[in-house]
Amino acid sequence: MKKLISNFLVVAAILTISACTKTDNYDGPNASFQGNILSSAGGNLQTSSGSTQIKLQQIGWTTPQTIPSKFDGTFEDTKLFKSAYKVVPTNGAFWPVTDTIVVNIAQGTKHDFTVTPYIIIKNLTTSLSGTTLTIKYNITAPIAAGLPTIKDTQPYVNTTKLVGAGASIRDFSDVNSVTINKNFTDMSDADKSVTLTVPNLLPGRTFYVRVGVRLSDSFNSSNFSEIVQIDVPKS
């Protein structure tokens, strides 16, 4: 009886091991796609979490996928299936890109997109007095005609270098927002020269600060400044 059982187990083991030996004859997602989203005004487009994306539509497939842009305007996805894709940058504060390009994505494919931002933030200066931070900057637009309404402008303050919409401390950031609600062409020079204050920063801490201008486009998207490090001295 024991022998019977052990024989049976041996047979079962052989069957189990020999089953499923067929290997998948399709390649895994080993293609990659990376690059920069360049601003027409020079440099990379300043972005934030949950905003600019690269939309990829695999030819012969129905549902699109997206690669989110990193904060510095670069993007990278290393787990794509090798194929031809229609690609387009979307969801950010730049003039819509209507013509999609077809890219054959394989291992190490690189591509840079150039977009025209709605708003460019210039002459950003910061000054700290005690625990109150004052930020001054100018709002400019590469193309003024037909620009979506400017909703508001605000500082973004965080304790890490990842700072922007969705990555900021509300009490320092959203609550210090300044409402504009005007078309760019109706804004006076005074409107375009903004001064923001962030009071009551914590002494002895380092903060990362940038400013954003939000527009009422399809995504309520924001243009951002570069990120500035602020060290608040111990009182």
């Binding site: 129905t62 549902t63 979307t90 969801n91 819509p96 509300r170 959203d174 399809s218 995504f219 309520n220």
Partner: protein, 605 residues
């Protein structure tokens, strides 16, 4: 000998079984009803209709906007309502979590209706012509209701008007989307057919001709607003360019007029519930008493059939029920639609109250019947909301609320047992931050809560009060909104003042669009309408733009033996943002996989 006997018995059993076995294979399956059974009597058709009614997309107590029309297990979580993302309430949602919908795609149900519509005319002989006509009218109403559930989510959808043959070539089964305007027009014409063909009266829970025209007033208002406001505030994309979403702006007037005409048709056939001269009690009873002349179309529930809902057990705190918990609470922002509460003196200091209930003095009866205030009573128990105790209080309300929590001088507690000098610190009914089963805003829902139910009977799936899907109150609001959009202020004012009379509110002497819309919010609070209203007015991305909502926190001031109320952020201080792309939901990915002709998908999906 014995073994031969056994053999004979065995053989005869085998032969007997074999011979008789294969005789009845060619009978109709007894567990499936064939058309001749269904259509041989009105009762047969009724049984088929029951399924179609059951699946109707009625956004009732059990509707969960991110999961669908719930039945069976977990259909008790009635606090997952759309009011919890719009600022009418704050609820279990972390933000606007419902905007993606739940992939609603009821073409199976629509097929049932299509089968009904194609079969009924073949059975005039057995059912008689008037019966067939009435049933056909009902079927057109039901088909419109299903397509309305689709159109308000996706815009244009494929209009399937006949049962498809599963054996037909794939190319004919993969139907393209119709334009959004065609979709709304189809729903309108179906409801016209329903109105023409159905009788005046019906069993409770079934539609009559007035239900069809009442739904039409709602539907046409949606279409009109999409034309008017959707052509200003939109996300562009291929689907919009093809007309699959969006209606030309010049069509708005036509639809507003259709909404107005439909609403006016109901005049004289239904009226506002006014049975009780006590205005608060009257408004409470409107949602609980059967046979109200205001009810046009209702959905019923039954404990015996396992369809009962759990509104009573999930809208009031456990303190007042036999089981379960609440998680969804009216905001101060909603309450302030009725005007600011008088909780602050002219100098900015909080008013001192001897009793919490004094807060309710002079408030509009409809407000008191919609929301349970601190000091109100239910099932013999008092809503004793108290956020904490101030040993003493000085200064203004605004200055106190602006302070960081750790520099405020109040005493809070993690449970109801903790005492401060012998006095309970937080109320049995909250507010409390340890969880969300006690109010986060200082208020509880009163609308639809059955105050007559004894506490021991308030349990999960034990509530049977019907959901009033269409009531004359809404019709008056539809009429007023259409009228004001058409410039007919006199008619709008009359309709709104009818509602305000019943509500016990002061009457308006003039009217504008804002007043009409606010009246709608007040009258239809928690009735799962405001989310869609925000969408069709295309104001959701403005109203819900990083929005935070407030509560009214009652405190006891110890050294004065008085109560004060402070307006503060609701205790979880959650943020609500509605993206513009959410004005339409994306076509479900699985359906696109089956039918690529549904592309292009809605903008930004």
């Amino acid at each position: 000998m014995k073994s031969i006997n056994k053999l004979i018995i065995a053989i005869s059993i085998t032969v007997g079984a074999t011979v008789t076995s294969c005789q009845k294979l060619n009978i109709p399956p007894t567990n499936i009803f064939t058309p001749d059974v269904i259509y041989s009597s009105e009762a047969g058709v009724k049984s088929f209709l029951a399924t179609i009614y059951q699946n109707l997309p009625i956004e009732d107590f059990k509707y969960r906007p991110d999961q669908g029309f719930k039945t069976g297990s977990n259909d008790w979580e009635n606090f997952y309502n759309s009011a919890g993302v719009t600022g009418e309430e704050v609820g279990p949602w972390g933000g606007v979590d419902i905007a993606g919908g739940f992939g609603y795609w009821p073409y199976g149900d629509i097929r049932n209706v299509n089968i009904l519509i194609s079969e009924l005319p073949k059975h005039v002989a057995t059912l008689t012509q008037p019966t067939v006509n009435a049933l056909l009218g009902e079927a057109h109403f039901l088909r419109a209701y299903y397509y309305f559930g689709l159109a308000k989510r996706y815009g244009g959808v494929p209009l399937i008007k006949e049962p498809q043959d599963p054996a037909a070539p794939l190319s004919t089964l993969q139907v393209h989307r119709n334009k959004e305007q065609e979709t709304w027009d189809f729903i309108g014409s179906e409801l016209d057919l329903g109105y023409q063909m159905m009788p005046e009266a019906s069993d409770a829970g079934r539609a009559n001709k007035y239900a069809a025209i009442a739904l039409k007033s709602r539907v046409m208002l949606y279409a009109a607003c999409i034309a008017k406001y959707g052509s200003v505030n939109f996300v562009d994309g291929p689907a919009r360019a093809a007309g699959l979403v969006g209606i030309p702006a010049d069509q708005a007037t036509k639809y507003f007029q259709a909404a107005y005409d439909a609403a006016k048709t109901l005049e004289g056939h239904y009226s506002l519930y006014n049975a009780n001269s006590d205005k608060v009690q009257n408004y409470v009873d409107l949602f609980l008493k059967s046979g109200s002349p205001e009810n046009i179309f209702i959905k019923q529930y039954s404990i015996a059939n396992h369809t009962a809902h759990s509104w009573d057990a999930t809208m009031s705190p456990r303190y007042m029920t036999a089981n379960a918990l609440s998680r969804s609470y009216p905001t101060l922002d909603l309450v302030q639609l009725w005007g600011n509460l008088s909780v602050t003196n002219d100098d900015g200091t909080p008013k001192r109250f001897d009793n919490r209930a004094d807060l309710m003095q002079g408030l509009e009866p409809r407000l008191l019947a919609t929301v349970y205030f601190p000091g109100a009573t239910l099932r013999g128990l008092t809503f004793d909301m108290q956020r904490g105790i101030y040993p003493s209080f000085s200064g203004t309300a605004a200055a106190e609320v602006a302070k960081q929590p750790n520099s405020r001088s109040y005493v809070l507690a993690g449970d109801t047992k903790t005492l401060y000098q012998g006095r309970q610190i937080i109320g049995f009914t909250g507010p409390w931050t340890g969880g969300d089963e006690l109010t986060r805003t200082g208020f509880y829902v009163r609308k639809y809560v059955d105050y007559n139910k004894p506490q021991a009977a308030v349990d999960l799936n034990r509530s049977e009060q019907p959901w009033i899907d269409l009531r004359y109150g809404e019709i008056l609001l539809n009429r007023a909104e259409a009228a004001i959009e058409l410039g007919n202020t006199t008619d709008a004012l009359t309709s709104i003042n009818q509602l305000r009379t019943r509500a016990g509110a002061t009457l308006y002497s003039s009217i504008d669009l804002t007043k009409v819309r606010n009246e709608r919010r007040m009258e239809l609070a928690f009735e799962n309408q405001y989310y869609w209203d925000l969408k069709r007015w295309r104001t959701a991305d403005v109203v819900l733009d990083r929005a935070h909502f407030k509560g009214l926190m009652p405190y006891y001031v110890f050294n004065e033996n008085k109560y004060i109320f402070l307006a503060e952020p609701e205790l979880f201080n959650r943020e609500y943002t509605f993206q513009k792309q959410f004005y339409y939901e994306g076509i479900p990915g699985g359906e696109i996989g089956k039918n690529p002709n549904l592309l292009p998908n809605n903008p930004n999906y």
